[in-house]
C-alpha cells in the first residue's frame, strides 16, 4: 500500500466503506436474516430510523440548548484545566524540591480513575454545569501539567546556553525560551486535552444532570429508545469533529514556526 493514491480515489473508497457498513446494518435489521426484524430493531434500530431521528432532533431548537450546555462545560473545563496545568507545570519544573515533595501525590492523583469522582463532584457542585467542569478539569489538568512540566524541563540545552550567552536574564529566558517551549508541548497535547474536556462533560452529564448531550443520550437509554441513543451518538460525533477542526485551525495558527505539522501525537 505504498503507492500514492489520488485524493478522489481515496475519498471514493472511504465513502464506500461507510456505505457498505450502513448497507450491512440495514440488511440485517430490516430483513429477517438473524430473526424477526421487530426484535432485532429493538436492540439495533435501523440506519434509516437513526438518520430520520437525527434530522428531527437537529431541526428541534431544543437540541441546540443541550449542545450549548455541553460546549460551555467543555470550554470551561479546558480553560481552567489548561491554566492550572500551565501554572503548576511551570512551578514544579522550575522548583526541583517542590516537584520531589509532591511527586507521589501527583502520581497517585493521576492514577485514580477520575470517573469515580463524578458523584462526589455532583454532591459538591450540584447537578448544574460546575460538577461537569470539575470532572473535566481533573482530566485536562494532568495532561497539560505533565506536558508543560516536560516542556520546561526538556528545553534544548543548546538553545538555552545560546540565549544565556546572548545575555538574557532569568526573566528573558522565561519569556523567550521556557514559555514558548512549554507551549509547544502543550499544543502537541491540545487535541487530547480538548477531547478529555469533552469526555468529562459528557460523562458528567450522563451520570447526573438535567441538560446536555450526555443527558439526552442517557434519557433515551433509560426508556430503551435505541434509535434515540444512536441519534445522540451521531450528533455527539459531529460535535466532536467540529470542535477538533476548530482546534486544528487554532493549532496551525499558533505553531506556524513548526516544520510541516510533524508532531502528530
Amino acid at each position: 500500500m505504498n503507492r500514492p493514491m489520488n485524493r478522489l480515489g481515496l475519498l471514493a473508497l472511504q465513502i464506500l466503506v461507510g456505505l457498505v457498513g450502513l448497507a450491512i446494518w440495514h440488511v440485517l435489521t430490516v430483513y429477517p436474516v438473524l430473526g424477526a426484524p421487530k426484535q432485532i430493531q429493538f436492540f439495533f434500530s435501523t440506519p434509516v430510523d437513526v438518520l430520520k431521528r437525527t434530522w428531527t432532533e437537529m431541526s428541534n431548537p431544543e437540541i441546540w440548548g443541550h449542545l450549548w450546555i455541553t460546549l460551555q462545560e467543555t470550554v470551561l473545563a479546558f480553560v481552567t484545566g489548561a491554566l492550572g496545568g500551565i501554572a503548576f507545570g511551570f512551578l514544579f519544573a522550575r522548583n526541583a524540591l517542590l516537584a520531589a515533595v509532591f511527586d507521589p501525590y501527583i502520581k497517585a492523583a493521576n492514577a485514580l480513575p477520575r470517573v469515580v469522582l463524578a458523584p462526589i463532584f455532583a454532591l459538591w457542585f450540584g447537578l448544574g454545569i460546575w460538577s461537569k467542569v470539575a470532572l473535566g478539569f481533573t482530566l485536562v489538568f494532568f495532561i497539560v501539567f505533565f506536558n508543560v512540566y516536560q516542556g520546561v524541563r526538556e528545553v534544548s540545552p543548546v538553545v538555552l546556553n545560546n540565549a544565556r550567552m546572548l545575555g538574557m536574564s532569568e526573566r528573558g529566558l522565561l519569556r523567550h525560551v521556557y514559555w514558548p517551549s512549554a507551549l509547544t508541548w502543550m499544543f502537541s497535547s491540545l487535541h487530547t486535552a480538548v477531547g478529555f474536556a469533552l469526555v468529562g462533560a459528557v460523562v458528567g452529564e450522563y451520570l447526573g444532570s438535567s441538560a446536555g448531550l450526555g443527558y439526552k443520550i442517557h434519557e433515551a437509554e433509560s426508556v430503551f429508545d435505541v434509535t434515540g441513543v444512536f441519534a445522540g451518538m451521531l450528533i455527539l460525533t459531529v460535535f466532536v469533529i467540529v470542535i477538533d477542526t476548530v482546534v486544528t485551525l487554532i493549532e496551525n495558527r499558533l505553531l506556524v514556526w513548526r516544520p510541516q505539522a510533524g508532531g502528530q501525537s
Binding site: 538553545v159 546556553n161 545560546n162 550567552m165 538574557m168 514556526w257
Partner: protein, 291 residues
C-alpha cells in the same frame, strides 16, 4: 608580542613555528586560560579529566584556531572561556579581570542549531539586543541590517526550519555579531555544513571579522579550515587529560580567500608541519578509543 613568541619558539620551520607551553606577557590578552584543568564526574562517581593544565591566551584582534582529535576537549576549553563551565583548577581571565559567571564580553557560535525555533530569523537576531535594552524598533532595524550583511535580506521572515543549514548559521552569526562582543568563541560552527557551504561561510566570517577585528577562539577538527582562517593554530593532544602539544603561527597574507589559499605552497608547508604534530594525536585518539 607575537614577535617575541616567534623568537622564543623558533624551531627552524620555514613559515610556521612551534611553541610549546605557556606564553609570555599575559596581561593584554582578551581572554586567557592559565593552568586550566576541567574534570567531569561520570555516572558511577568516576572522575574524567577532559583537559589538563592549559595555558592559552587570545589577544584582541587575533584569530586563534584550536585543533585536536575528537574527544580532546576542544569544546570544553571553549566552554570554560565562555563561563559555561567552571574549571576544576586554574583561572580564566577576561581583559585582565578574573571571570566569574558567564563571559558577558563574549559571543558564542554553537555547533548545533541554537536559534530559537519559535522565532523568525529577524526576531532571533533582534532579541539579542533585548538584554542591552535597545528599543524594539531600533533592534528590528539593526537586525534587518545585520541579516542583510550576512546575505539573508530576503529571508528575514522565515522560521529556522524553513532555512537551510548554511542559512541558519548565517542567522546565528548575525545574532552573535549584532551585540558587538569583543571576543568570539566558535565551536566547530561550520561542522555540520557541506564542503562548499563551509568555504562560503568561512569567507563570510573572514570578511565580517576583517571589518571589525575581534579576538577569536575557533575550535575545529578540520586542519585546513584552521590554517585558512587563523593567525595561530593551537594543537591539543588526544584526551583524556588533553594538553596543548603545539602552537603554530600562520603568517599567510590577508585578506585571504579560503578556497584559493589552499593552493598556495606556503599553505602546504604549514599544513605538513602542523599535521605531523596532529597526526600523532589523532592516531592515539583512535588507538585509545574503546571499541
Amino acid at each position: 608580542m607575537v614577535g617575541q613568541r616567534a623568537a622564543e619558539g623558533r624551531k627552524g620551520g620555514r613559515t610556521g613555528m612551534r611553541l610549546v607551553g605557556g606564553t609570555a606577557l599575559a596581561h593584554d590578552d582578551a581572554v586567557r586560560l592559565d593552568g586550566v584543568s576541567i574534570a567531569f564526574t561520570l555516572k558511577g562517581g568516576k572522575r574524567y579529566v577532559a583537559v589538563e593544565n592549559i595555558d592559552l591566551g587570545v589577544m584582541p584582534g587575533e584569530f586563534v584556531a584550536v585543533v585536536g582529535p575528537t574527544g580532546s576537549g576542544k569544546s570544553t576549553l571553549l566552554n570554560a572561556a565562555a563561563g559555561l563551565l567552571k574549571p576544576a583548577s586554574g583561572t580564566v581571565t577576561v581583559f585582565s579581570s578574573a571571570l566569574s559567571g558567564l563571559n558577558a564580553r563574549a559571543g558564542y557560535l554553537f555547533q548545533a542549531d541554537a536559534l530559537m525555533p519559535w522565532k523568525t530569523a529577524l526576531d532571533n537576531v533582534a532579541v539579542a539586543l533585548e538584554p542591552q535594552r535597545v528599543p524594539r524598533p531600533d533592534a528590528l532595524a539593526r537586525a534587518r541590517e545585520w541579516l542583510g550583511r550576512v546575505g539573508l535580506k530576503a529571508f528575514v521572515d522565515r522560521y529556522p526550519h524553513m532555512l537551510s543549514g548554511g542559512q541558519r548559521k548565517r542567522v546565528a552569526l548575525a545574532q552573535m555579531l549584532i551585540r558587538d562582543p569583543e571576543i568570539l568563541l566558535m565551536d566547530e560552527p561550520f561542522g555540520p555544513l557541506d564542503a562548499q557551504t563551509r568555504q562560503i561561510m568561512g569567507n563570510l566570517l573572514l570578511d565580517l571579522w576583517a571589518a571589525n577585528r575581534k579576538a577569536v577562539m575557533f575550535v575545529t577538527h578540520d586542519l585546513e579550515e584552521a590554517i585558512a582562517l587563523s593567525d595561530r593554530v593551537v594543537v591539543l593532544s588526544a584526551g583524556p587529560a588533553a594538553r596543548i602539544v603545539g602552537e603554530f603561527k600562520v603568517d599567510l597574507p590577508r585578506p585571504r580567500d579560503i578556497s584559493e589559499i589552499r593552493l598556495e605552497p606556503q599553505f602546504h608547508a604549514l599544513y605538513k608541519e602542523i599535521w605531523s604534530c596532529l597526526r600523532v594525536e589523532v592516531s592515539r585518539a583512535y588507538a585509545d578509543a574503546p571499541a
